[in-house]
């Protein structure tokens, strides 16, 4: 029977190819536009650390201006002072934890003709790699002893290793960063979280850094951070030492806490530290220390901008318009065929038969619209990639989104076909037979 319905649907499509193409086109356009914006939204808001969603936390301490909060909604500042982060590092509660800053370096290899090249760098603790599940191709990170001694060791990203050592195992080699020798201890495998969640200062969707060094290395070189340094307190800062002790916030801090108990314990430690500091005249704001999961952190920092949300809303309104359009076209098409259906009904076809016959046709339109819509979405994302720099990883269709597109197209078509099919199944055979 189904085969017969397909034949009927096919002959109906053939009889009126323009109208069918219009319907498929309308659904495809709707799907194409809404899937383009939805994919962007979906990738931007996806969890960059899915296997540790309840274990890794952004550490926020509120030592900000007692007169006014950092954010209007009273959230604590996104970064820490150097001193507060150092105090956090002294706790042994977290499984892993790391203070970090971003900092560029000028890198040269031993090659005599080599010219210095600019690389982006992250100064952090050795725990960084284990905490964020960063994969290594060669070697490893460094241990706490190297952290404490500010050892001149470096981990290279896959790309940096490609650039400086042609992709070979460079562990043990030496590179010169800002004219100081650093020993390569590890090389990362390909690592590209969609959002650079651990530091949103300089572009949430940028690539991770090229090189990684112990946090205290740039401190010992008296470097500031690339990114934001915010200060609220009028204080005379005339030396690097004074800067480190100032109320300026400029470092990020993350911790891995595996259980609820561990999390509670660390939060208590943070609050205890704040109370201690309060006695010394700091932390004058109401207690407002926070541990946020990666997802909470990205939400609070509005990584997915209002623009993206708005585009999704508008494009789904567009899909709705396309749907209404399809309803109209399908209604026209089905009603046009009413006399034919009248004959079938008079010859004994049940109402269900009529419904099934038309549902098959609706389904074909839906699948066709979905497939063409996928092509439109692909083109749309191609355009988005060319309009935004650094969106290569965002504007990409994955299997999930393709399935979503097809499912959306079919349900859209079924929804659009619902009313016309119902209408055609309700026709009175007699009325249409009379005029034949």
């Amino acid at each position: 029977m189904l085969k017969y319905y397909f034949r009927l649907a096919w002959s109906s499509i053939r009889r009126n190819p323009l109208l069918t193409m219009l319907m498929i086109g309308a659904i495809a356009l709707g799907i194409g536009v809404s899937m383009t914006t939805l994919t962007l939204y979906y990738v931007m808001s996806s969890n960059p650390l899915p296997f540790k969603s309840e274990q890794v936390y952004a550490v926020q301490l509120d030592a900000w201006d007692p007169e006014e909060p950092y954010y209007d909604d009273d959230s604590p500042p996104p970064q820490l002072t150097y001193g507060d982060a150092a105090a956090m590092m002294r706790s042994d509660i977290p499984t892993y934890q790391a203070t970090m800053i971003s900092r560029g370096f000028s890198v040269k290899t031993d090659q005599p003709e080599a010219r210095p090249q600019r690389v982006s760098g992250r100064a952090t603790y050795g725990d960084f790699f284990a905490m964020f599940d960063v994969p290594f191709a060669y070697g490893t990170g460094w241990d706490r002893a190297a952290d404490d001694a500010a050892e001149r060791v470096v981990v290279l990203s896959k790309d940096a290793n490609e650039k400086f050592f042609g992709g070979t195992n460079s562990v043990g080699e030496v590179i010169y960063m800002d004219e100081q020798p650093f020993r390569v201890v590890g090389v990362l495998a390909s690592w590209r979280p969609v959002t650079r969640f651990y530091d949103l200062n300089t572009g949430a969707f940028n690539d991770p850094e090229d090189v990684y060094v112990p946090f205290l290395v740039p401190i010992s070189l008296e470097y500031g951070a690339f990114g934001n340094t915010n200060c609220w307190k009028p204080e005379n800062i005339e030396s690097y030492e004074q800067f480190l002790q100032s109320e300026c916030i400029w470092v990020q801090h993350w911790a891995q806490l595996d259980s609820a108990a561990q999390k509670a314990e660390f939060l208590a430690f943070m609050d205890g530290y704040a109370a201690e500091q309060n006695a010394l005249g700091r932390f004058a704001r109401p207690r407002n220390n926070r541990l946020s999961t990666v997802t909470e952190w990205l939400d609070a920092r509005e990584v997915v901008s209002a623009d993206n949300t708005l585009l999704v809303v508008l494009s789904f309104m567009f899909l709705l318009i396309c749907l209404l359009n399809t309803v109209g076209l399908m209604l026209a098409k089905f009603i046009n065929r009413a006399p034919l259906v009248g004959v079938r009904r008079a010859l004994g076809a049940s109402r269900l038969d009529v419904i099934s016959q038309h549902a098959v046709e609706v389904l074909i339109v839906g699948i066709g619209g979905g497939l063409v819509g996928l092509c439109f979405a692909y083109l749309g994302l191609l355009a988005v990639r060319s309009w935004y720099e650094g969106y290569e990883y965002l504007a990409k269709l994955d299997v999930t989104m393709m399935l979503v597109a097809i499912a959306l197209a079919i349900s859209a078509a079924l929804l659009a076909g619902l009313y016309p099919t119902w209408r055609i199944s309700r026709i009175q055979p007699a009325v249409h037979l009379k005029t034949q």
Binding site: T37, R118, I237, E238, A306, A332, R423
Partner: protein, 398 residues
């Protein structure tokens, strides 16, 4: 006019009309909100920065080493850069308008703790900032060579400062700012020696766009901004980078780009957003027009015999044409009324949730007119074919 019979026909055959009206309503909501956002972004992007964007190139050198003679290194670089054919002026400056990174601070207009304070974005640079960037001095004077401090100690406050006109107004109102003092948050006085007309902040959207000031400080890691002959910025970028790299092969030269490309990067999101909105808008109009054509053709086909009858009893072609156009106009107008409500509901949500600007009713009549036109044009084809229906058709098949 036969509005009443049209209405009663519509009421008896609601489905098609409702479908079209809903489409028009949604189309209207999409278009009004998109147009509004597009125009608003366009205004943001059109804000003048106060500098000659198309005649500037920036580049960066990083030099590492101890005991460097900062002033000598910089003066040597500047001499080399000025020697490039097509470069007319060079300055060493901490950052550029709209580049996205820079410094801001709060200053007070008096030396008391409760004196009014105001926030500024500030630039630090040498003597050539204004003539390189194309900014005019409006009052007082510019820095003297002796006032420029090379490699200042960390945290050093300047002794003299030049303010933007809008900053001077924020500090002193309409009074003459020259020779007066403003104070840092720790109470150090800075003498105002001059004002310039306009130079925007480094940030896209942070603080008052034009409240800026310039400090007479120069550091080695600042960038060089070069003024180049009109139309030659793009072509000079590689030459500038190469010339600077050749001064000392051990230094890192990078980030050489035209000021135009810096600004383009800053606004890239808005440009892309506007393009997407414009595309969605065009598609919406096309789809809606196609929908109207489809349904109008359908309703013409359904009513062939009634039309034939009307023609047979004396209606002229013009009457048939008018009937369908008026019918469509009624449906479109119904959709527009619904769409107006929807547009404002959506905008209200945007205003409250995302701090978007409130919808300006100025665009509404234009969009309404546009939609009426789209509706009538789309109906024209089917209506004309309806007018061609032969009166004889009514007498057949009875």
């Amino acid at each position: 006019m036969e509005i009443r019979p049209i209405l009663s026909t519509l009421m008896r055959n609601r489905t098609g009309a409702i479908l079209i009206a809903l489409q028009i309503a949604l189309t209207m909501a999409v278009i009004i909100n998109s147009v509004f956002i597009i125009l608003e972004r366009r205004d943001t992007m059109a804000r003048p920065t106060g500098i000659d964007i198309d005649e500037l190139v920036i580049t960066r050198v990083s030099t590492v080493g101890d005991d460097l003679n900062v002033r000598e290194l910089i003066e040597n670089d500047m001499r080399v850069l000025r020697g490039i054919d097509g470069v007319s002026a060079v300055t060493k400056i901490s950052t550029m308008p709209l580049s996205g990174s820079g410094s801001s601070t709060s200053l007070r207009s008096g030396d008391q703790q409760d004196s009014p304070s105001f926030n500024i974005g500030y630039y630090q640079g040498d003597r050539h900032v204004l003539d390189t960037l194309g900014v005019e001095i409006t009052r007082g004077r510019w820095f003297a060579e002796t006032e420029i401090i090379y490699d200042p100690a960390q945290g050093l406050d300047p002794a003299v400062i030049v303010l933007a006109d809008s900053t001077a107004e924020a500090a002193f109102g309409d009074g003459d700012p020259i020779g007066r003092f403003i104070y840092t948050s720790t109470g150090n006085p800075i003498e105002v020696i001059g004002t310039y007309d306009q130079m925007s902040r480094p940030w896209y959207n942070w603080g008052d766009f034009y409240d800026t000031a310039i400090y007479p400080h120069v550091e080695l890691n600042y960038l060089y901004a070069l003024r180049v002959a009109p139309g030659r910025a793009d072509e000079l970028v590689p030459t500038i980078e190469q010339t600077l790299a050749d001064v000392d092969p051990d230094r890192l030269v990078g980030g050489t780009q035209t000021m135009r490309s810096v600004v383009d990067e800053t606004y890239q999101r808005d440009v892309a957003m506007n393009r997407m909105l414009a595309i969605v808008m065009c598609l919406v109009v096309v789809i809606t027009a196609l929908g109207i054509i489809g349904l109008a053709s359908f309703s013409v086909a359904q009513r062939r015999r009634q039309i034939g009858t009307r023609r047979a009893v004396g209606a002229q072609k013009f009457h048939i044409l008018r009937y369908f156009l008026v019918e469509n106009w009624l449906i479109t107008t119904g959709g527009i009324v619904l769409g107006l409500v929807l547009s404002f509901v959506i905008n209200n949500h945007l205003v409250q949730t995302y701090n978007f600007a409130k919808l300006d009713a100025v665009y509404v009549p234009v969009v309404v007119l546009g939609l009426w036109c789209v509706g009538l044009l789309a109906t024209l084809g089917p209506a004309r074919s309806a007018a061609q229906i032969d009166p004889a058709i009514a007498t057949r098949n009875v």
